[in-house]
C-alpha cells in the first residue's frame, strides 16, 4: 500500500520529510540525552564538554533519604489513584458506550474535561473544596486529586476497548442461554482485561510524574516530583540528573509495555472479529 | 459525436486479430516477499475489447490489475502500451484510469467535484471541465445528484460516479476492480448490461476483474482465466465454455462432469462407459457438460452416442432447468441437466454424444 517507500525510490519530496522527521526526533530526545550524559558528569550540570564521568551522583542519590521517602509516598499515591480511577472510570466507559440516558453528553464532557484542562484549574478547584470542607492537605488529598483527574484516562482506554469488542460475541452468549449479568462477567470483562491493564499502567505512570495538580494539594509529605521541585529551588546538582535518568528509564519501560499490551489487544480483537465473520460466512 | 468517444473507433469483432493491440503484458511476474503471486503472465489486450480477468481470490487477478494501473510494480517482465513502456511510469502519468472496488470517491468533494477531479488536476479550462463533467454525469444518469456528497448516495449510484470520474478523462484503457461485487444480485445484473453497452458506446478497452464466472461470460469479449498466478486459458466465453483447455477451466465456468478414462486403440473406457476417440493411448481427462446428457427412452442408440442407466439420487431445481445427480454404478456419478417440467423420475437412461466429451488437461496443484 505504501508503494512509494516499498519501491525503495525516495522521490525528492519525501527526502525532506525524512530529514524533518529526524530533526524532530533529535529535538524531542536531545534534552533527555543531555540529562542522562550529565548525570555521570562530576562537575555539574552545565559546561561543555562533560569531563570526568562518574557514578558518584548515583551513589549520592541512593544515600538520599528524603528522596526515597518521597518515592514511597508517590508509590502509595499512584496505587490508590489507580484504584479510584479504575473503579469509577470503567463503569463510566460502560455507561457511555452502552447506555442511553438523559444528560449523557454533558456527563461525557465532564468526565473527559480534566484530560485537556490545564492542571492548575483542576488543582485549584479541588483546593477550594478542601478548604471549604476543612479537610487538611495531605497525601490523601493528592490521591483524590489524581484519582479524579485520571478517571478520564481509564474511561478513554476502556471505551476504546469496548468499541473494538464485537457485539456478536455478546449476542452469541445471550443466544446460548446466558443472561446479561453472566454475559457481562464471562464475555465482556475478559475482553476488557487488556484495556484495563493498559489503563492501570498509564494511570500509574502519570500519577508518579504528576506535578501540576499535586502542587496545590500537598500537605506535609512530598511526592517525588515535588521533592525534586523543592530541590530545584535550592540549587541544581547532577543528583537531580541521576534521579531524572532513573525516572526516564522506568517511564520508558512502562510505556513500551503499555503500547505492546495495546497492540496485542488490538490484534486479539481483530482475530476474534475475523473468526466471527468467517463463521457467519459459512453459515450463509 | 459524443465527447466521450475516442476518435478512430474500430468495429468490434469477437476475436482480437482484426483490432490492433493496445496493451501488451510480457512475462510479468510478481512476488511479495517469498510469495509468488503472479508467474510469467503474457497477455495482449486489443483496442476496444472487453477483457475479463477471471479468478478466485488469491489467484493474483487484482495484483495484475494494480500492476497495469501502476500501484504495484512487477518483479519481472514488462508492460507496454503501444510504443511506450507503461510500467516505467508512475500511475499519474499513465493514460489508464481505474474504477475501484469500493469506489474510492472523495468524501469531502461533491459528486461533480469528484468527476471533475482528473480534469482539474490536468488544468483543463473551466468551460471544458463543466461541459465534459455534465456529459459524463448524463451518460451514467446521475445528473440530478451533481451537488450531493458521496455519503448521501447509494452504493449503486456511487458506482456510477466512480465510472464517470474515470471515463471523463478519456483514458485509452479502463480498469475495473470487481466494481459490482458490493451490489445486490438484481442491481448487479442491471449494471452488467449497462456497463457492457457503455463500453460499446465509448469504444475504449475495458479490463474487468471478477471472481464471478457468470458475470464474466455475460460481459466479456474474451476471458483470461487466472489460477494461482498463471493463465489457465484465454479465449472468448463461448470457446472457454465449449472447449475448456483444462480441468480447472471446465469446472470453474459452469457445471461439468469430469471423466477420467483409459484410452486403448482409439477407444476410451471410463467405468461402464465406452466411446471412440482419436487420442493416443494412456489416461485422459474429459469434460462433459450436464446439458449434453439427455434423458432418453427407447432402444435405438444413435451413432456416436453413449448410453448409461442410473438411479436419480438428488435433484436441484434451477427454474428453467433441473440438475439431477445420477448414480450409474461402478462409483460413476453423472450430473445431467433436464428441462424442469419432467415428472419425478427414479431411474433414468442418459445419452450423450462422444464428441461432447471434450478432452482437457490436468490442473495440478500449484503452491
Amino acid at each position: 500500500m505504501e508503494f512509494l517507500v516499498s519501491e525503495a525510490k525516495l522521490i525528492s519530496g519525501s527526502r525532506w520529510l525524512l530529514l524533518h522527521a529526524v530533526a524532530v526526533f533529535a529535538f524531542l530526545y536531545l534534552p533527555i540525552a543531555v540529562l542522562i550524559v550529565y548525570s555521570f558528569n562530576s562537575e555539574g550540570v552545565g559546561g561543555f564538554p562533560p569531563h570526568h564521568l562518574t557514578l558518584g551522583w548515583y551513589r549520592t542519590l541512593f544515600a538520599d533519604g528524603p528522596i526515597w521517602d518521597s518515592v514511597l509516598n508517590s508509590l502509595q499515591v499512584a496505587l490508590a489513584a489507580m484504584a479510584i480511577s479504575l473503579a469509577f472510570g470503567v463503569p463510566a466507559a460502560l455507561a457511555l458506550e452502552r447506555a442511553q440516558f438523559p444528560g449523557k453528553a454533558l456527563f461525557r464532557r465532564l468526565v473527559l474535561l480534566p484530560l485537556i484542562l490545564p492542571g492548575i484549574i483542576t488543582g485549584l478547584s479541588l483546593l477550594m473544596l478542601f478548604n471549604v470542607t476543612g479537610t487538611k492537605l495531605s497525601l490523601v488529598t493528592i490521591v483524590l486529586g489524581h484519582g479524579t483527574a485520571l478517571i478520564s484516562v481509564a474511561t478513554t482506554e476502556v471505551f476504546a476497548g469496548l468499541q473494538k469488542l464485537d457485539r456478536a460475541q455478546e449476542e452469541a452468549s445471550l443466544d446460548l442461554g446466558a443472561n446479561y449479568w453472566q454475559t457481562f462477567w464471562r464475555i465482556t470483562v475478559p475482553n476488557l482485561k487488556l484495556p484495563i491493564i493498559g489503563a492501570a499502567l498509564l494511570i500509574f505512570t502519570l500519577s508518579m510524574d504528576e506535578i501540576a495538580v499535586s502542587f496545590f494539594l500537598i500537605g506535609r509529605d512530598n511526592t517525588l516530583p515535588l521533592e525534586i521541585w523543592g530541590r530545584l529551588r535550592r540549587g541544581i546538582t547532577p543528583e537531580i540528573n541521576a534521579v531524572s535518568t532513573i525516572i526516564f528509564a522506568f517511564s520508558l519501560v512502562a510505556i513500551v509495555f503499555w503500547y505492546r499490551l495495546r497492540m496485542r489487544g488490538e490484534s486479539a480483537a481483530e482475530a476474534g472479529t475475523e473468526l466471527v465473520g468467517a463463521v457467519e460466512e459459512e453459515a450463509v | 459525436m459524443s465527447l466521450l468517444t475516442t476518435p478512430n473507433q474500430t468495429t468490434l469483432k469477437a476475436a482480437d486479430q482484426a483490432a490492433p493491440t493496445l496493451l501488451s503484458i510480457r512475462n510479468v511476474a510478481k512476488q511479495f516477499g517469498k510469495n509468488p503471486v503472479l508467474r510469467d503472465i503474457s497477455l495482449e489486450v486489443a483496442e476496444g475489447e472487453f477483457l475479463t480477468i477471471l479468478g478466485e481470490s488469491g489467484s493474483g487477478k487484482t495484483t495484475l490489475l494494480r500492476i497495469i494501473a501502476g500501484f504495484e510494480s512487477a518483479s519481472a517482465g514488462e508492460v507496454w502500451m503501444g510504443e511506450e513502456r507503461l510500467d516505467r511510469l508512475p500511475p499519474y502519468r499513465r493514460l489508464v484510469n481505474t474504477v475501484f472496488q469500493h469506489y474510492a470517491l472523495f468524501p469531502h468533494l461533491t459528486v461533480e467535484q469528484n468527476v471533475a477531479y482528473g480534469l482539474r488536476v490536468a488544468k483543463r479550462p473551466e468551460a471544458e471541465i463543466e461541459s465534459r463533467v455534465a456529459e459524463a454525469l448524463d451518460k451514467v444518469k446521475m445528473s440530478a445528484h451533481a451537488k450531493s456528497k458521496p455519503s448521501k448516495i447509494s452504493g449503486g449510484q456511487q458506482q456510477r460516479i466512480a465510472l464517470a470520474r474515470a471515463l471523463v478523462n478519456r483514458p485509452r484503457l479502463l480498469l475495473l476492480d470487481e466494481p459490482l461485487s458490493a451490489l445486490d444480485a438484481n442491481l448487479r445484473r442491471q449494471m452488467q448490461v449497462e456497463l457492457k453497452s457503455l463500453q460499446r458506446e465509448v469504444g475504449i478497452s475495458f479490463i474487468f476483474v471478477t471472481h464471478d464466472q457468470e458475470e464474466a461470460m455475460v460481459m466479456s469479449d474474451r476471458i483470461a482465466l487466472l489460477r494461482s498466478g498463471e493463465l489457465e486459458q484465454v479465449a472468448s466465453p463461448r470457446e472457454i465454455y465449449g472447449r475448456p483447455a483444462t480441468a480447472y477451466a471446465a469446472q470453474f465456468i459452469g457445471h461439468t462432469n469430469l471423466l477420467q478414462g483409459q484410452v486403448r486403440g482409439g477407444a476410451v473406457r471410463c467405468g461402464c462407459l465406452t466411446w471412440s476417440a482419436t487420442i493416443a493411448d494412456g489416461t485422459a481427462l474429459f469434460s462433459l457438460r450436464p446439458e449434453n446428457l439427455r434423458v432418453v427412452a427407447g432402444k435405438t442408440i444413435a451413432a456416436g452416442s453413449v448410453r448409461v442407466r442410473g438411479k436419480v439420487r438428488h435433484r436441484a431445481f434451477h427454474g428453467a432447468t433441473e440438475l439431477i445427480r445420477v448414480e450409474c454404478g461402478d462409483g460413476l456419478v453423472l450430473v445431467a441437466r433436464t428441462p424442469g417440467n419432467d415428472g419425478v423420475l427414479d431411474e433414468v437412461e442418459l445419452e450423450f454424444s462422444a464428441v461432447d466429451a471434450v478432452r482437457v488437461r490436468e490442473s495440478p496443484e500449484r503452491l
Binding site: L4, V24, V45, L110, V111, I120, S251 | V121
Partner: protein, 282 residues
C-alpha cells in the same frame, strides 16, 4: 438491551464522584470569585464584582493574559509545524517501521514534565550546555543571555513538551484516511504533492484542529515552565494565579482569574469541536 438496573449501577457511581470532585469544586471556584479578602487575610463572603473589575482595570492582568496567549499561539504554531510533517511521514512513508517510530514519539510524552523542563534549564543557562558548547567551538565569546529566563525559553520548552500532543490526533486522522483515496487520486493524474493538498490535507483537518486545541489550551494554562525558565519577562497568567494562592494571598481574585481561564478553555473546546464536525467527512 440493557436493563435499568444495569444503567443505574454503571452510570451513577462515576456521576456522583464527578459531581463531588469536579462539578462542586468548579461551582466553589465560581463562588469564591465573587468574594473578597479582608486586610487581615481572611476571606469575606460578601458578594461583589470587585475581582472582575480589578481584572479589567489593572494593566498587569491584561498584559499577562495577552502575553500568555501570544506564547500559546507560538507554541501551537510550532507544534503543528513540527508535528504535522512528522505524522505525515509516519503514516504514509514509514512502512514497516511505523509502529516503532510511533512508540518513539509517544515516549517523551510520558517522561516527567518536570524532568524535561529541568533538562532545558540545564541546556539554556549561561553556564549551560548550549552556551558552553557555542563558546567551546568559538561561535560566540560570551554566553547568550536571552536563551534562559525569557519568553523564548518558555516557548521552546513548551513546544518540546506539546509537539507530541499535537502529533497524536493528526496521526490518528491521517491513519484514518482510506489508502484507496490516495491511489484514486494518483490514478486520476494527480502527483503526490497535488494529492496531499487536494485529498489528504482536507481530510486531516479535524486532527489538526484537535492537536492545535490541545497545544494551545495546555500551554496557555501552564505555570511550571514559566516558573522554571521564564524569568520576570516570561511570566504567564497561571503564575499570577499561583502567587495569589500563595504569597500574595488573594484567593477570590485567583479564583476569578481561574474561572476566566476555565470559561475561555471550555469556550475554545466547544468552538473547536464545532469546527471539527464541520470538517469531518466520514
Amino acid at each position: 438491551m440493557f436493563s435499568r438496573a444495569y444503567k443505574v449501577a454503571v452510570a451513577v457511581p462515576p456521576l456522583l464522584w464527578v459531581t463531588v470532585f469536579l462539578l462542586v469544586p468548579y461551582l466553589l471556584m465560581f463562588c469564591y470569585s465573587f468574594w473578597s479578602v479582608s486586610a487581615s487575610q481572611t476571606i469575606q463572603h460578601s458578594w461583589n464584582f470587585d475581582n472582575y473589575l480589578q481584572l479589567l482595570r489593572v494593566d498587569v492582568y491584561w498584559q499577562t493574559l495577552l502575553r500568555s496567549m501570544w506564547i500559546a499561539v507560538r507554541v501551537t504554531a510550532l507544534s503543528l509545524l513540527l508535528g504535522y510533517p512528522l505524522a505525515y511521514f509516519l503514516s504514509f512513508y514509514a512502512g514497516k517501521k511505523k509502529d516503532l517510530l510511533y512508540q518513539l514519539v509517544i515516549i517523551p510524552l510520558w517522561v516527567s514534565y518536570l524532568v524535561r523542563a529541568y533538562a532545558w534549564k540545564t541546556i539554556l543557562g549561561s553556564d549551560g550546555v548550549l552556551n558552553t558548547l557555542l563558546q567551546y567551538v568559538h561561535l560566540t565569546k560570551h554566553p547568550l543571555e536571552f536563551l534562559l529566563y525569557s519568553p523564548f525559553a518558555v516557548v521552546l520548552t513548551l513546544t518540546h513538551i506539546y509537539t507530541p500532543f499535537a502529533f497524536l490526533p493528526i496521526y490518528a486522522a491521517l491513519e484514518h484516511i482510506p489508502r484507496n483515496l490516495v491511489e484514486a487520486s494518483h490514478d486520476l493524474g494527480a502527483t503526490p504533492g497535488q494529492t496531499f493538498w487536494k485529498v489528504i490535507f482536507p481530510l486531516s483537518i479535524p486532527g489538526v484542529l484537535a492537536g492545535a486545541t490541545f497545544a494551545f489550551v495546555l500551554s496557555l494554562g501552564d505555570f511550571l515552565a514559566p516558573l522554571l525558565l521564564g524569568g520576570p519577562s516570561g511570566i504567564m497568567i497561571s503564575n499570577i494565579v499561583v502567587s495569589l494562592f500563595g504569597a500574595a494571598y488573594n484567593w477570590p481574585l485567583g479564583a476569578a482569574i481561574s474561572l476566566c481561564m476555565l470559561v475561555l478553555v471550555v469556550g475554545l473546546l466547544f468552538f473547536s469541536e464545532r469546527l471539527e464536525k464541520k470538517w469531518s467527512f466520514s
